[in-house]
Amino acid sequence: MSAPATKSPAALPEELAAPERTGRRGSALVHRLFVVRELGILAALVLLVLVTVVANPRFLSGQNVRDLLLSAAILTVLAAGQTMVIVTRNVDLSVGSVLGLSAYATGTLLVVAPGTPVVVAVLAGTAVGAVCGLVNGLVVAAAGVPSLVVTLGTLYAFRGLDSLWASSADRLQINAADLPAGFKALGGARLLGVPVLFLVAVAVVLLVGWYLRTFRSGRELYGIGSAPEAARLSGIPVGRRVLTAFVVNGALAGLAGVLYAARFQTLDTTAGTGQELFVVAAAVVGGVAIFGGSGSVYGAALGALLLTTIGTALPQLGLDPFWRDAAVGALILAAIALDRALQLRLAARLRGRNARRDR
């Protein structure tokens, strides 16, 4: 309520004194809404798991859960990178092709030089991705072409490169038998029962989250997406930051390619096809605003976990694969509606507060 009428008449000099602060309610409010947002995904996830377990108790068996985490790991790494790009009001649609190219490159390296240490193979795959990201980033940042168009182009270009390489090397498919045992062990390795690949994904998410929150350049990515013109006027090196986001995203897509190779161990030139939209979906479901400026990598990771779980749970519920797509679609719409509702609520509260403060 506005109870100002009862306020004692203030003399003008008093008007000049600093009014009392409204306290930390604004931050608490925003924080709460974000937590609500992430809890929402978590709740959906728990619900889905419960329903599936009731229908099929074996859903929570160790192997099943490990498979789920393995699949989620790849999507999560992609989503973490994609988040960095999306917060700058860009998008990278080429990640599926980058994944494929990097997986194939890593596989080829290991076939040609079976003695390569696993670490070197991981770094090589990541580097391939980083180069792809650099190409995307340079065209977007330097030439100023919209990222949607650029990465749509490189989506096909990188895939084409992959096929070209495979056919000219006359190695259309790499099989598990061709890969060294050391690398194959990575796919099944566990630490305290948890698949190592999943731990890698968790580490990536924590790192990216920490970076985005703690460093100037991380905050500047949000600034760029929130108001590109303001970013320019505040002296943020917009081009360089966007380029960095694309390179890191490319590197992470490359890393995802290595994880893919380690997990599936059978590689052809179709690896990762169609992943790009799944990744963007994971980010959007996780509350990353597609127009940039807001959203967290943790939300995107939860989104990736949820989408993967849907993918594994629905067949176990005996539902047609069609329902998986329908469910993902419904989820995206629900996420957008939820974000809109939260936004409106926040705006309404903040506006009320605006008028209430001031003297």
């Binding site: 100002p4 602060r21 306290g23 006027l233 002296g235 807001s294 506006r351």
Partner: protein, 512 residues
Amino acid sequence: MDHASSSAPGRVVLALEDVGKSFGAVAALRGARLELHAGEAHALVGENGAGKSTLVKILAGVHGPDTGRVLLDGQPVTLADPAAARAAGIAVIYQEPTLFPDLSVAENIFMGRQPLLPGRRIDRRTLARRCRELFDRLGVALDPDRPARGLSIADQQMVEIAKALSFDARVLVMDEPTATLSGVEVERLFAVARSLRDSGAAVLFISHRFDEVFDLCDRITVMRDGQWVSTDLARDLTVDQVVRRMVGREVSSLFPKVDVEPGDVVLEVRGLTTRGVFSDVSFDVRAGEIVALAGLVGAGRSEIVRAVFGVDTYDAGTVRVSGKALRKGDPAAAMAAGIALVPEDRRQQGLVMELSVERNATLTRRWQLARAGLLSSRAERAQAAEWSTRLQVKAGKLSDPVSTLSGGNQQKVVLAKWLSTEPRVLIVDEPTRGIDVGTKSEVHRLLSQLAAEGLAVVMVSSELPEVLGMADRVLVVSEGRLVDDIPRARADEDSVMLAATGQGAPSAGAAR
């Protein structure tokens, strides 16, 4: 005014020499000149479109000059980008707020300059503390952690000011910083600007309000059509002289208000309440009447008119136009009933920046202009041309995007847009914000003339002379309530200010 510090001209910190800048065919600057001394407050005045903001953007490193030189401490410099200008110690408050809506207020202020811990990590605690110190200095009651989205335009401006003050600038450039602020906030800003000046910084101040210019500044540079006209000590100038140099001819700054016999009640507002914002607001407006809503910034005036028009919904009360109740929260219905609202925040609410002047000017009446559902662009252009001429919009071509217009000219386009709907009730929120003297009296003449033709006008204004000059009645809003209804005969500076600060004669509900 006391300008003791101006008598000893300081060292020249920053200078522009014969600077020219063109945007396509538009020559925004040709032969602009400026010399800023350490320890002075320097005013830059000129009509809308004279090139003031363009000059500011050259100092800020946003635009490079086509010709001429920028000198820093006597040395030619190239301010290649905003970061370079910043590094040179030049802080700029732009005419239009440039905030990041998704980021917190504190982050907005310190973006790119956040205090660091070892390892280049952001020191959030120091960040919050420094932000609070700044706000205390400026007397701002904002929560540093709230997002910038949804800030009122005055608060956005305060955040901009805090941003500019957050680093030790040798040169502080302020492009119409006071346009959206109330008297109290302007006083605080000036206090801070004076202390900066006294500590040796140069302050460049741009405003269309001459009382402020003469209050703050030691020297005044006048510009016209992108050219330097004169630079003089403020104490050697009068307002009339400045205006004459700006415009190049005589201008009467009197408000040509004609007296009109009010007709029937057109707009009837009863018991309008939005919890926490305003409560029990009731008033009538008759045809031919100009009613001003006066009060301090943040008193709830804009919120009231937004609710009347239906942009915001409300908790209780009714709005009637010619006796017919309006559905709440339905601006389309309000428009159909003949209400027009010229909003205070032109960027967010009034204009589509990417569209052309003529598109913007006719955006609200596309259906009237459309024949058989098709928009005839000839009709559109004719309308736009008519209103643009009446309001003296200065634009290269009417097909140029609005974003390329000067601030004051954008405001004129907003006015044109709503006036062309031929409303029965016109609500204007700060109609002459950022508009130069000449056009201001033109806008007043226009409003007065429209009222004489039977239009009911509701005007929200923070400029007391405008309120006193134009209004048949002054409704004073204080902290969300109508506290007084002062007829023209009794309205003067004292009666309005006393009521606005909550010290007027208590006459609640007097507004009927």
